[in-house]
Every structure is written in C-alpha cells, then in structure tokens.
Symmetry: C2
Subunit: 326 residues, 2 copies
C-alpha cells in the first residue's frame, strides 16, 4: 500500500512514524505547501514534493492522507483531492461534519474514490464507542470527558492575551464527576462540573500578571464557564515541563436493562495518550488500510468510521482474527 | 423486524426484555424444547411454541436468536437453523470458534441467510476492542481481565464437590495488576496475579467443611492456579446476597508510537454489568438489527462482530449518526 502525506506538521510526522509500524505500508512521498527544501522528513529515501506535484501523482498513491487543519485547509482540500485519490482526513469541527460529508461524498462518488473523513480519536474512536454503546444500551445516558491533555485552541487563546509571551493549557476532567458517573449515579453535570482548565503562562517582562490572569479567567467560551487556574512560570520551565502534547479522555454510557429496568450497566472507554498527534495518526493509518481495501472492492463515496467493518483495519485475515482476537 | 427466540432461560428472557427497548423490533414467538405450557413469558400476546414448530415458521421470522449453550446446543443448532433463518448465537467456546464458523458458513451461504456467531461481550464487545486497539497500536501488549462477576462454570464446579449443597463463585481482577497495567508498567502477569476467586458455599448438614475447602482450592484448571477464598454461608444468605448474575471486566492495550517508540499510550475498555445475561442479550439484539439489514442487502454466510460496520447496529440513519454521535 503506497501512502502519500499532504502537510508535514505534528500530524504528518505522526503518520510517517505510524506507517513504519505497519509492514504492509510504504510512505511514497510527502507533499508540502512550504518550500520542500526546508522540510526534512525522518524516512530515508522518500521524496518531499511541492503540493502542486500531486497533479502528476494520479495512479501512484493508494491513499493520500490529508494533514491540514479543519478550519480552512480540509474543507477545501478533501473534496479537491478526492477527485484524484482515495483520501483520509481528520476533520474535527463536529458541527460542520454533515456539510463536509456531503461535499466530499459528491466528488468521491463521481470520481470513484473512497474518502474517509473525521478520523482520529474524537471524532473517531470516541465516536465509535458512543455508537456501539448507544446501540447496545438504548435506554441510557452518555458522558464524554476530555483530558488530561493539552488543548491547542485554548493554548492559542492564552497566547493572544496582551502581555503573554507563551502558554499552555491543560483540560482536566473533574475527578468527582468521573467518580459519580463510574459509580452509576447518572449525575446532571454543568460545564464547570465536568472539566477544569489549568494554564501555564510565560509573561512578557514587566507585564501585569494580575491583569493577565483576570483576562484569561474571564474569557468567554474558552475559560469563563470553567474553574481556571493560572500559573506564571519561566520560559525555561515551559519548555522543560510542558513541551509534550499529551491528551486522552473518557467515554461512558450508563444504561438500564430488564423488564422493570432493574439492572444497571456501565460501559467505559478511555484513552491515556503521551502524544495526541501520534495516536491520531495511528488511527488514521489503520483506517488507510480499510480505505485501500474498500477501494479495491470497488467501493466509492464518503465514509466515516461508522461505515467500516472493524476487520478492514487489521492486516490479519478473517480466520486469524477469529482465532486470536474473537 | 420480527424476532424469534429459541430457548427461554436467562438469555432468552434477556432477549425478550431487550426487544422491548427497541421500537423497530417485535417479538414474534418464543420456541422451547420444554413443554410450552410450562413456559411463562413476560410479553403479552406472544405465543410459545415447541421447537419443532420452527419448521413451519420459514418466512415468518426476520431473525432467529439461538439461546442455547455452547457445549452441546449451539454447535448443532446454529448450522441447522441457518438453513431456514437468519440466525444469531452467543457461542463462547473461544477455541472452537473457527470450526463453528466454518460449519455455519457453509450452510448459511448455501441457504442464502446471514448467520452471526459469538455475539455478546466476550466474545463480542471485548473482541471488538481487542481488534480496534491492535489495529491502532500494532506495537503493544494486550490484557483482558474479567470480573468482578459470577462465573457459571466455576459455580457449577463448586456444586459438584461432595458435601456442597449450593454455591456461587466470583471472579475478581487483582487490583494491583489492574493498577500496574493502567500505569503503563506492561507487567508480565501469571494466572494467579491476574484474578482471584471467591467462593460462597452452602454445605450439606454435617459435611466436612475443611475437606470441602481443600477440595475446591486444589481443583485443577478451576481453582488450583488461583488464590481462592472459600466462605461458608447459610442457604438464606446465598439466596439474599448472591442471587444476582453480575459480571464485567477490562480490556487494555498498551502500545508505543513515535520514531524512537518514545510515546506510550493506554487504551482501556471496561464493563460493569448488573446482569450478565441481560447485557449479552442487549448486544445480541443490536446485532439482530445488523443481521436483518445485511440480509435485506442480499448478504449471506457466517459473520462475526468483526465483519459488521458499526452503523448497522443503530436504528438511526447515517446522517443522524454523523450529526449526533460522530
């Protein structure tokens, strides 16, 4: 299976690493909108091309993995490239998924390619767990918690505050809320009761720290609805202690069964990830195998993780899977 | 969707309860090998027929759910009835799944029906989680823990001991082992280090309790390889405190990503179930929907949970799923 990567940031690099763990895959080329000479990749002997070169790659890639952002890149890139390739993206703006799906589906159906959108862990593995658990326990309640992990959006928001040189924000589930759900209490939880936000901020020299803290804590949408703590630290400490990109979270469904709804059940799925982009990449690469196989079978159109039978993700045969994993 | 149930024990009754939670399903009839007059079901107006009556039901059931045991019933029943119906079973003798699959597949392909085997939570939801996690983290380690829950097989083994009137056995995961896995320590665990076995025994009057305890603790396969505790209690206490059939467990995969395998990830799936048979039934009923749909699409042959795209399990449309659960 020959894989192409468009975009070589954290996600692109993660895809490159994940391909190396899968013997049936090969990284064919990396494509970039930057000057290819400035893009040093890890795999020896693999070319880096300008994005425009993709025009000449038809028939040379089995799957093209799009590693752009959801805000502006993917809404444009995924439909464009589905014209020429089987593609996968990690489009994660939940509210705009239906629109994105329709745009991609029209192109992929016409061109006869398979396009998988919104792949990763949320949307992705978390969505799968919500779906399975909802189907199994129709009479129940869903809870999703995120963290502990770095939120890129919230870290960016901190960095836009006047007087802030750099910063990182951790989203952390509230332990008592987790415990109440796990304990089968079916709590009604407000935004504030579910997550806390912890900020590590490097202030500019001479900046008014009290004012920075107040500005962050009162920022609408991002922080105002949460219990937020702000720690001022040095640039060195930020680099040493907070340069990772960990993340994770929990998906619960609690539900009842029985003639009188007398029995309670709790389904819990959780992830604890040292590297958010590398785990996302690992999910995408497993699904690249599925996309390739579906395409080989003659399928076309836009898909999500909901539409793909699990066996397609594994390099093992059906017989091997039944013998060893069932 | 018209569902038939063959066998009305704990599982059959669980199926009946689960059907009631799914508006697109209807219990058409219960079939039994006992005298139908002695089988009182919960749903009003639904007939109970002798099993032989199934011969006359072709075309009247969309899916027949087989609620027999894995030891002798299902190896015979599932291939037999796949000749006439779409069927689902919960065959759970892991080692014999490949053979059972082949037997069922041959019949189902020839008759043009869809047969789903080994549905439930292990095999079933646990298997799915093993497969997804293995595909996503190819470089890693699997752990499955069961419990806290009642093991029917071990309870039966206790009851066969001389001097034992009744008994229940709980399989319990060792907390330290769970913690070590969750902590990313990738421990190598022996059988004894993973689970403990707790037995509640009602002794016959005048029986030698010390001898019973010794016999249980040294029983090969069942108890000898475990730390086992034996509590002698009264018949009343057994009935009051230990008449439920709870179960559950944990599936972990720990794995590494990154160019130098420098990042660790932990995927954990767990179930905490008040009623093992009712949860198993809920899984089976969700898959009955999938079997029916696949059959409508013209599919045939034997399937497992690995072969079925998640969207087939839900009564919601693809668009609804993408909007609300992705």
């Amino acid at each position: 299976m020959k894989i192409g990567i468009l975009g070589y940031g954290n996600l692109g690099r993660g895809i490159e690493c994940a391909i190396r763990q899968n013997e049936d895959m090969e990284l064919a080329a990396v494509f970039t909108r930057r000057n290819p000479e400035n893009v040093k990749i890890l795999t020896e002997g693999v070319p880096v091309y300008p994005a425009e070169e993709l025009e000449n790659m038809q028939g040379k890639l089995d799957v093209l993995i799009l590693c752009g952002g959801s805000a502006t890149d993917l809404p444009e890139q995924t439909p464009s490239y589905a014209k020429y390739f089987n593609v996968i993206d990690s489009f994660d703006t939940h509210a705009r998924i239906p629109e994105h799906f329709d745009n991609v589906d029209a192109v992929a159906k016409e061109s006869g390619h398979v396009a998988l959108i919104s792949c990763g862990w949320d949307p992705g593995m978390f969505s799968l767990n919500r779906l399975y658990a909802n189907a199994v326990l129709p009479n129940g309640k869903d809870y999703t918690f995120w963290g502990k992990g770095v939120s890129q959006g919230h870290s960016d928001a901190i960095r836009r505050v006047e007087g802030v040189k750099d910063g990182k924000q951790y989203t952390i589930p509230v332990e008592d809320a987790l415990a109440a759900v796990r304990n089968g209490e079916n709590p009604e939880l407000t935004t504030r009761q579910k997550h806390i936000r912890e900020c590590f901020v490097v202030a500019e020299e001479g900046a008014d720290q009290a004012k920075i803290e107040e500005t962050i804590k009162n920022m609408p949408n991002y922080f105002a609805d949460y219990d937020t703590t702000v720690h001022f630290i040095s640039e060195e400490e930020l680099k040493e202690q907070h340069s990772g990109i960990p993340h994770g979270g929990f998906v619960f469904r609690t539900g009842v069964t029985g003639w009188e709804e007398e029995h309670n059940h709790i389904i819990e799925y959780s992830l604890k990830l040292d590297s958010n982009p590398e785990f996302t990449s690992s999910v995408i690469v497993a699904y690249a195998r599925a996309v390739y196989r579906l395409s080989q079978e003659g399928a076309s159109g836009c898909k999500t993780v909901f539409d793909i039978a699990p066996a397609y993700l594994s390099p093992k045969s059906g017989a091997e899977l039944r013998k060893h994993l069932l």
